[in-house]
Every structure is written in C-alpha cells, then in structure tokens.
Symmetry: C2
Subunit: 197 residues, 2 copies
C-alpha cells in the first residue's frame, strides 16, 4: 500500500501498543483523532505524557500514584490495620468500584510462580512483610484461584505468624452458569457446601 502520509502511518503503528487494537482499529482511531476530535486528541497526548512523567507507585501500597502516598493510604477514615492483598491495580479498582473494603491495600506485582521463575522478591513479598509488620492485624488475601495464587497465599501465610489471615470465599459466582463452570470450581463448591435448612 502506497502511503499518503508517513506521519499518519507512524501514528497508526503507535496506536497498536494499546491492548486489543489491531491495524484496522488503529486506522479508524488515527482518522478520528486527527479529523474529528483534534482538541480532545491534543488533550490525550498531553495527559499521557504527563501521566508517564508523574505517575509512579505509592510508597506504602504500590498502587499507581503521582504522590509518595496515594489518596487511599492518605485517607484517615480508612482502617490501616486491615490490609487487602491484590495482584494488580486493576483488581484494587474492582474492589473500590464495589465499595466493599474500607481498609488499606497492598498491590503485589503478580503471583509467585516457581515454574516461571518468579520468586517472592519479584512480586514485592519483602515489601508486603514489612508493611504487615507495621501494625496490620488482618490480612485479606484477594488472589486469583490458581496454582500460583495458592503458592503465593501459602508463602505469605508461612511468613506472617500472629496475624489473622483470611481469603476470599471460593465457589459458584452469582448468576454463574453451572453447566459451563470448570470441574475444579464445581469440586470446590461441592466440597465446601453450606448447610441450609
């Protein structure tokens, strides 16, 4: 294909860094940005550059933050003694959206996975233990239900004697279609069945 504008092509290529965006959507996005929404596009370029320059990690919980202490850790109304451990900022956001947790968070950077060579210090376990030692009384493990999630939960448990450890209940999700659930979830849900009378 003959190009009419090398710079347009470069923009189209650059947009493909966005997750789920292939050549066709990138072309549509580039045309829209330039032709239809130039002022919003200019705002986007500025905000993106600013975010990349200023956003780092909160020194306490490691969520994304442009200040040393994020707005959640800085909020005096939240209970700093209850710490929810999540794998990523996206999971933290899911809990915040639901408004279910009014304690603090700690964002791991993934899960321990010996098979993939991911060791405890690559996922901020040392930083977590330091944080837990800082007056935490309950640690809520909100980790994915998987082999790596189990490994990470067991590792944390072994390193945190004297602290109440809880983890999310596992079972059948609300509205979950039993027919399409995997055998492991079904086994787990059946094994942990609750009496109901």
């Amino acid at each position: 294909m003959k190009s009419f504008s090398p710079l347009f092509d470069e923009l189209q290529r650059s947009l493909q860094v966005l997750p789920g965006v292939g050549p066709r959507s990138a072309q549509r996005m580039a045309l829209n940005l330039i032709e239809r929404t130039p002022s919003e596009a200019s705002k986007l370029a500025t905000v993106l550059a600013q975010a990349l320059r200023d956003i780092s990690h909160c020194h306490t919980c490691y969520v994304l933050s442009e200040s040393e202490t994020c707005q959640i850790c800085a909020d005096p109304k939240r209970d700093a003694h209850r710490l929810m451990v999540v794998e990523s900022p996206g999971q933290l956001m899911a809990f915040e959206r639901a408004g279910l947790h009014d304690g603090h968070y700690f964002v791991l950077n993934g899960l321990i996975s010996p098979l993939d060579g991911i060791s405890p210090d690559q996922v901020r376990i040392p930083q977590l233990l330091k944080r837990v030692g800082d007056g935490v009384t309950e640690v809520v493990l909100a980790l994915t239900s998987s082999v790596e999630g189990e490994a990470t939960a067991h590792y944390i448990k072994a390193q945190c004697p004297g602290v109440t450890l809880t983890r999310l209940a596992r079972g059948i999700p609300m509205g979950g279609d039993i027919e399409s659930l995997d055998p492991n979830t079904l086994e787990l849900a059946l094994g942990a069945r609750e009496s109901w009378s």
Copy 2:
C-alpha cells in the same frame, strides 16, 4: 469510587475520546500504558502531538498529509487525468490497500444532504470542480450507494459537462448472502442483470 490517582483518572477519561473505547477498556489501556509499555506509550504521546501539529490536508486531493502535496499526488507514475472521488480518507485507504486505482484521488468531506442542511460547498464540491477543470478526463465516482450518494453524484454530473463520468458497479457483493441482502440491492442487481451464456 475513591480515586487513588487523579492523574490516572484523567488519563482514563482522555482515552475515551478513541472510537469504541468505554470506561472499562480505557482503564485497561491506561494501566497497560503506564505499567507495561511506558516507552511505547511515550512514543505514542509524542507521535500524536506531532501528527496533530503537522498533519493537514493535501492542497490537491485533500487527503491527510504533512506536506502541501501528498505522496500520492506527488507520484509521477500515477495518472493525473483519472480522478477517483471518495467521501473520506478511509475509503481512499481501502482502494490503496487493494491496489486497484493508479490515478489520482479527490477526498470529499462527506456527501451532499439537503435534508441535513449539507450543501455542495460544505463537502468541497467547488474544490473538486476546480480540480476537474485542471486536465481531468475521467472522473470515477466511488460514493456510497444511498440517497445522499445519488444526490452528490447527480450534482457532480450536472457540473462536469465534457468529462467522462463513471461510477462503481452496484449489485451483489462477492460472497454476499442473498438471503440477508436488503430488497433495494436485490432490485438493483436484478434490474442490472447481465446476459451470460
């Protein structure tokens, strides 16, 4: 939802200017840009700002271009006497991808639509007529098959006496499922049926 980073929220909002991107995909994009691909994201911010600053329209065909004359119009191997009229840069790109046209293009800015108050001079018809007067011998109208497309084609035809005007054949698309085609297309395809023996 309590925000942990106002700047992150602003990035998430800004990303929603992209077509087809709602709050959830914007969040996923923002996280990815900041956490996983900061250097590509930085490139994107730079290229976007540069594209907005430097890309304008080719003075001859009105496609996006960072120079006065786009690379298609500047190509001496292309036939400047055959002019394909399209509605948008995206349609031009579709023809270029297919490599089917080696003449020049003219990019209208939409179609004439009296009902929506879109007059000939709002879609660059005066510029087109000037371009046609500049030695064009054939005008290929590659316009959407619609009421507005018809109105635009008729208007151009009336203004271009002495020039060969052609338009794209209409009918059943390759692989098109006859069962799901609209009655207008079927009527058109039947009315224009070709002898085949």
